[in-house]
Symmetry: C2
Subunit: 313 residues, 2 copies
């Protein structure tokens, strides 16, 4: 690719990753047809029309407002449910009913793990919701990802990748970052990341202090589960060549250590969980490996890994 000028190439070699992670922004997505999900006058999600049809039947929990002119339909949590506790409880009832009726595929992956629902990360939660249900309402999810890397004896950069367990509900067997996990209710970002590092890769305390917070990566995609706007807090972890990750929680099938050039090749294949490839794209940009000189679509890539969290609403 290096010998092709911008005009000879119609898109970046990494575009395939952005196409997957940001498919909600494509013209053929459900974006224009979605209803807004509102709690307490805050827009906190987008709901596909086929989901709205089912949800609006629960009139003891939701208020449906038809769209007029250029305005979107709104599915609102009844204003009577005026505390996080009552909203969470009533919507939990709806979700358990929907789960029994088995009409939303995402609820087959019920986790018994709650996510905070809020407008901005710094806001107080408006309610909590079962993790598997958030794509139905298109609510923003947060998580943590760790890039584990080291320089070998020759000075070449190597990266550790996890391979997801074949029994994982989502993306079984796919390549993943060294450690990653969703941010559940009641746990801080750094604590969550330390927990994932310990559970997924048995990383000891003397290494964990090297974890470096380096920013966020944000994107929005949709699939059969619904709409998934996500914001990942990213950490870099420079390891020593003798480090060896060992999984402790059964969520990782194995670990691989590759030269960074090999990772660049793998990340654009179907072997990779797409959002983990996006995290590595951010890593390659921050570490001067993908540059304006070797990547004509550099500015578009930086834009694609930093989608504004409010734009999709």
């Amino acid at each position: 690719m290096a010998d092709k000028s911008p005009t000879e190439m119609s898109k970046s070699r990494f575009q395939v990753i952005l196409d997957k992670c940001n498919n909600f922004y494509r013209s053929e997505s459900s974006a224009s047809r979605c209803a807004v999900f509102c709690i307490d006058d805050e827009k906190v999600g987008l709901i596909r029309p086929e989901f709205v049809v089912e949800l609006k039947k629960y009139t003891d929990v939701f208020l449906y407002e038809e769209g007029k002119g250029f305005k979107r339909e709104i599915l609102r949590v009844l204003p009577d449910l005026n505390t996080p506790e009552t909203r969470s409880k009533q919507i939990e009832h709806v979700l358990q009913d929907l789960r029994k009726r088995n009409i939303f595929c995402t609820l087959r992956g019920w986790r018994d793990e709650n996510y905070d629902i809020k407008k901005n990360y710094h806001d107080k939660p408006l309610m909590i919701m079962e993790r598997a249900a958030t794509p139905i309402f298109g609510c923003l999810n947060y998580g943590v990802h760790v890039n584990g890397y080291f320089y070998n004896e020759s000075g070449d950069m190597m990266m550790w990748l996890g391979q997801r367990s074949p029994t994982k509900a989502t993306y079984p067997n796919k390549l993943d970052n060294l450690c990653a996990g969703g941010l559940a209710t009641g746990i801080g970002i750094k604590d969550n990341m330390v927990k994932e590092c310990q559970e997924e890769a048995s990383i000891s305390d003397d290494i964990l202090h090297k974890l470096k917070s380096v920013g966020t990566v944000s994107y929005c995609y949709e699939d059969e589960r619904g709409i998934l706007p996500e914001c990942q807090f990213v950490y870099d972890l420079e390891l020593t060549p003798d480090f060896q990750p060992i999984n402790a929680d059964g969520e990782v099938g194995g670990f691989h250590c590759y030269p960074i050039k090999k990772v660049e090749e793998l990340m654009i294949t179907d072997e990779f969980k797409p959002n983990c490839a996006l995290i590595i794209l951010d890593f390659l940009i921050r570490h001067g490996l993908v540059t304006p000189e070797n990547e004509p679509f550099y500015t578009s890539l930086v834009e694609g890994i930093h989608k504004p969290l409010s734009q999709y609403l």
Copy 2:
């Protein structure tokens, strides 16, 4: 600040920087009243209503289309001007006339330096335009900025800042990054950055090879000159403690070297050129100095330094 919880604080201590650099996104900005500037059916800028009034008089160069319903007004370069050369030449005539009439303040800072006008960075230029004129049309400008830093004998991070010359047309005397400059027509990003490093700080070749490309910072503001959407290619340069910058082109009044904590204090004051403070905010985030733990508005800050380049159109 560290002992305040998110709910006790209404905004980030860095919000003042974002307020300045992204004032075009504020509700009181001219955004909703602007006309779109089109070349060859591509939207490449936004023009304030008071500028449109003057520009549409040049009917041999521009075609004015009234806005209808929810659609914006359009000021289009006449389709007859169907090459970059003819567009550039005809608009240069308009600009020289406007300059003589002395009605657009930005043209008083005429530089005799051209910028490429294009939709995306990877596109071929649709025309070239005098640098000082681009805010009139709200066209995207690109530039390069270098964060120069080192660790002193105690292991503390220190940062070099330039102080702009008192004779600079824009932001005289303000604090700046170690080196920075706009991306003129006909020069590549890295070449431009090397040139700025040599001219502004006399950085020698043996140091320049350490320049590390680390991403972009993008934002959009308006002032008396017009609308300025900008995308800066950012480089980090780790220096040795004995390095001393020396200005060679008269654009820098002097250099200062401060502990990074002192820079954090200075960057929120009026001492700083706002976009240079934004570049340092990105640096602080990437280097793990501003983290989700010490900055409740972390996700908003990351979003504020990565405004989508197309969103403002």
